[in-house]
Amino acid sequence: MTPEGQTRRLISKRPKPRSWWLLNKRYTIYMLRELTAIPLLGFVLLCLYQLIKLSAGQSSYESLLSAMSSPAWILINAFILVASILHSVTWILLMPKGLPEFIVGIRVPPAPVLFGGFATWIAVSGIIVTICIRL
């Protein structure tokens, strides 16, 4: 504590660059993880657009579908897919830290949570893709 009238002269903190998240690997991974939200939002907007087209009628919807089969669209969606996978991996890796540490007084080790998370993800994805292909 410093008495009144005796304010401490402080030098401002060490300057940090705008690109602080390049300073170490973990910051960079964190930033990539957060940035996945942008491509994911892109996909969400695409869905919204599809919905608009859908309510505008079959021909309107199908014109969008045919536009989406262009290589450029597929490339964009492939990029979104990569971001989405990065989101899934980082999200599942963080899951053990969000669940209660203790269930009926027993400490839940992170390994089974991680295993369960990845197994569920892969299974769900497999089922969705298989059904959609076989339709």
Partner: protein
């Protein structure tokens, strides 16, 4: 507004979890396999239109869509300070949440319409 923070965070978390488990497969089907003709039936007008006909599937779609949107917008709001963009943190997050609400409303209107 602070009272609502737990709600935003809860929706963000639910959306993140749904996105983690469902989105890669959905993007693969809708964005790649469908357009490439490998799963064209799944993305056809008739299929989608009839799939969105029932009330339950409408609710399901809204829940998935709105939480994932909220997830994305919440994160993008938080990216503003991370990227040192000179916009107030509160404003950024408010715009994000509002944007997600508007998009959800749009989906509701579109679904009720069809």
């Amino acid at each position: 507004m602070h009272k609502l923070e737990p709600m935003w965070w809860g929706l963000f978390s639910v959306g993140g979890t749904i996105a983690a488990f469902l989105l890669p497969a959905m993007i693969l089907v809708v964005g790649i396999l469908g357009p490439m003709g490998i799963a064209s039936e799944a993305t056809s007008f008739v299929r989608i239109d009839s799939a969105l006909d029932g009330l339950i599937s409408k609710i399901g779609f809204v829940v998935v869509f709105s939480t994932i949107t909220m997830h994305c917008m919440h994160r993008i709001g938080a990216l503003v300070p991370d990227l040192k963009i000179p916009v107030s943190k509160k404003l950024a997050s408010a715009i994000g949440h509002l944007g997600a609400l508007i998009m959800t409303a749009a989906v509701l209107v579109l679904l009720l319409d069809s």
